[in-house]
Symmetry: D2
Subunit: 307 residues, 4 copies
């Protein structure tokens, strides 16, 4: 067994008692039904070495982790003028999202809060049909993960769409400030599709590997984004990747990362590796409880914390 | 010429130079096209005496004045449990409507701000189809005005519907707190229809006459609402009837009233009369500039100010 | 027994079971010690007729009712340019006072919220020493009440001063926007003195009588304020006189009034009378529970509700 | 010339045209008088190698950089129970500090916004006299910098004290929530003293060196804080160190750092070095314009960006 695998195993084993602590997201049935004892982790290094633990080949709903992919894709499609429509600073906290939108005239603080992600999705759409846009995003993610089997879970997408009242409110609010160009229904359609992408931990880790290598996939040598953009994405994840617990994550894990309410977290170890974890029970801030604990143990074992 | 007509004429003539000061509402074309020099006023007393000035038989878009009618009708339909879903206190000012909604968990401050009016409309809808609901409201207004010729301007309604981003945001926000029961599209449909009711000043004054007589139409002796409810409606108009200039209106006119961005204002002189004025140019707070001036002159002439 | 006395007695007797409902203000010991079963009411008409009930000659701490006197006095001293520094519109509610101050650059919404009253006190101070300012205000109140025995309760003033953290925060906030001219300690000193004025219900009713008579004391014929200013003060009380329950008071009592956390309320019946009530137990909004009930009964008996 | 010195020189020279761009802080005279063309930079590595450029031995007013020292010292004095009184998450932005305080009941978001720093100072004070507390903090900073010549600029401290209206407002606001224990004047006295510490860039870099070495001064082997606490401080600087431009700094410089309105910035390169820069002209977010540019050039030359 490789050192990497040994480190991953011992880290994961050390936090097994944390699995099941917290609460599975229940705002849509498709998420609420996920067994609370699921756990998985996967690592891939810039040299191509891999290690997995638990249900690392079982698909999870990536939810807000998709915000990372849509941001990368949209920056590639539309360039830095996207930043005229969405900020790049931490947002404080959940509650004030709409207060802030009001004070800042419909420009959300960053692309990782829902309001910001809706703007990014609107920009990604451009002139495309919602079908083409979704298909192109899926293709982008499949390319990142080098895996064409990745799909969108249509049940999840449909459920999200029906529960999207708060996002509709945010979207129409921004539309009243002319910061949403397409009909909001189109934006919400694509947004709910992207949240419903299903990936397993191995795919997730693989898809973020380019960010550990200055924007270039180290295994295919494909340049996904330029160096500067890779740093931008890492900075964004470092400061805003975990809802209102980004400060806590930075202290405990000390790596750029993005979490989703499906219980997945993907993190980037600059110059070294990408890691994905999954455990559906969330802490009060909406981040995977056991997943965060596993990452904390792993960075202690590997000394990967960059702070 | 009666004293009443003389007082109305001299009051209106004294403020003719104010006509055209301010700005016609331009958020929808149908309102923007109204000539800025329109002016009208009409009085009807509890004894049935009437007096008119200017274009008092020309229809205007009543806009937010409709909030008074939907509130009266909905209280009759649903009773005081409506107050569980909407408050009865002044709201401070425009800007914080959504801040307040967030802090107060989706319960708007009063029925005369847009968020509150959406809740009232949702409650008015109940199980009715949007068509039935709109038809019933129109019948209620025709009955108040004793005039079956009153109609809804479908062009205005359609334009409102297309521009309703901010209201959609407020509505979905409240829906995320379960304070909107029907699909929001239904609520917005009825809301935009009610705003688009067309009435002239004589009809408007007539329709509010019951509020000058403790809830009973003094000419037909029909009880529209009970005494207590009439007082409630008058109190609401006194404190919240003029957007963020209710304090200014109370000082200058000193009567319960409700204004709309179409430039109409209806006021109640308790035990005496109802008055309507119209002039489309609005002051910075969205109330008719010349209309307010005319009312101020009229109450000075008639000593109707109750404060 | 006069009709007035009979109406007052029966109104007060009908609500005796409400006395003791609610909670005595306890943020300072001097207020917390007031027996919860105190009750008093007093009426004085513009013709000089009087009627009292209960402990109408026992002093209470007028607290926020003083805001009415300082506003009247300061408008007389400094004129309408005061309105550049404080608004005249309802404020929504308690919680957002400082939010609003921030959004509106240090200009409070009206003179009856604490922030606004601090600005008024600062303006009243002008170049005076705090001692002179306080003495002049006391003289103004004594003149209104035609009673030189009125005093400031120094124990209450001292307690207020020690507990004034929130007011200090509001004051320094406005000072950072240059909307407080004097050192804040001076402003707080005078503010706490004015809140600590002790008056009984008969004095309170007498002191507000000029507002029932267009600004002129009907018994001395002294003009206290002009007609327009009297209407301004009445409008302000109507819309903002009862913290976040002004809408409720307008519905139930339908008269301009001002309440204080000492349990006193003074109301104006335009062209008719002034009334004061006192009962120290407060409802959730900080207004006297039994006092409001007594006023509601009284206006029902007398038909004094103006709405 | 060492490689380090060469890298520093070329980085600094490449941004000389940025010096003077922006605006010197002018809220107190002592800061406003600093010549706008000042520039300095200093590096010290964990092995003790040093390099300086420009006015690196000239003292600047460290201002908010002091928040780093008071936080480290207070955590040592009072332990992690400090976190009950102040959060550890980004705050969004300047404008909402008092909004957030209101919504979160007087608990500031993090120790690097002014409200949070006031709580830290209050906790640091404990039972000490203000003189002892200030003296102890100065001793702590001298020890960090291994330099007993560091002093507090009393003129600056006095000026700060006189201009501290906004901080007084924040402080009294928190005091009304019982989150400030000492009289606010004491807290403001110490706070203004700590902001007025004068240090040059060489001293500043030296004082932060322990944070590049897991909490232990690599040259003296003194443990200043434990490993975990060092990581906490670095995480806090990474996420909240630069007012409302922390996201921008993370992208451009990619290192934990803390800036002050005196134009100083100190950054930590984990396991490698500490760096200080100084140039008094600030960008719109209050951070040194040329200083940030110099750091950006330096991390490009040295590959020290950790993201």
């Amino acid at each position: 067994m490789s050192l990497l695998k040994a480190q991953l195993d011992s880290s994961c084993q050390s936090i097994q008692h944390e699995i099941g602590v917290g609460k599975v997201a229940d705002y849509i049935p498709a998420l609420a039904q996920v067994p609370s004892d699921k756990f998985a982790a996967a690592i891939i290094t810039v040299t191509g070495e891999t290690a997995s633990f638990g249900a690392a080949q079982e698909a999870l709903s990536i939810q807000s982790i998709s915000k990372l992919f849509t941001l990368a894709s949209t920056l590639n499609l539309r360039g830095t003028k996207l930043w005229d429509r969405v900020g790049r600073e931490p947002s404080g906290n959940a509650f004030n999202s709409i207060v802030q939108l009001e004070m800042e005239c419909g420009v959300p603080r960053n692309p990782f809060i829902n309001a910001g992600a809706l703007v990014v999705t609107d920009a990604m759409l451009g002139d495309q049909s919602t079908q083409d846009c979704t298909a192109n995003l899926l293709a982008f993610v499949r390319d990142l993960a080098q895996d064409n089997s990745i799909v969108i879970d249509e049940d999840v997408a449909q459920s999200e769409r029906e529960a999207a009242f708060r996002n509709a409110s945010l979207g129409y609010f921004m539309k009243s400030f002319n910061n949403i160009e397409r009909p909001l229904d189109d934006v919400l359609d694509v947004y709910c599709q992207q949240c419903a992408i299903s990936m397993n931990c191995e795919q997730l880790a693989r898809s973020a590997l380019f960010l550990a290598n200055n924007g270039t996939d180290p295994l295919t040598q494909n340049t996904i984004v330029g160096e500067e953009r890779a740093r931008r994405l890492n900075a964004m994840m470092m400061l805003c990747g975990h809802y209102d617990a980004s400060g806590d994550f930075a202290f405990r894990v000390g790596l750029p990362g993005k979490s989703g309410v499906g219980g997945g977290i993907v993190v980037v170890v600059p110059d070294v590796a990408a890691v994905a974890v999954w455990s559906p029970c969330l802490n009060a801030n909406g981040n995977s409880h056991a997943g965060t604990a596993a990452l904390e143990a792993l960075v202690r074992a590997t000394q990967w914390n960059i702070l």
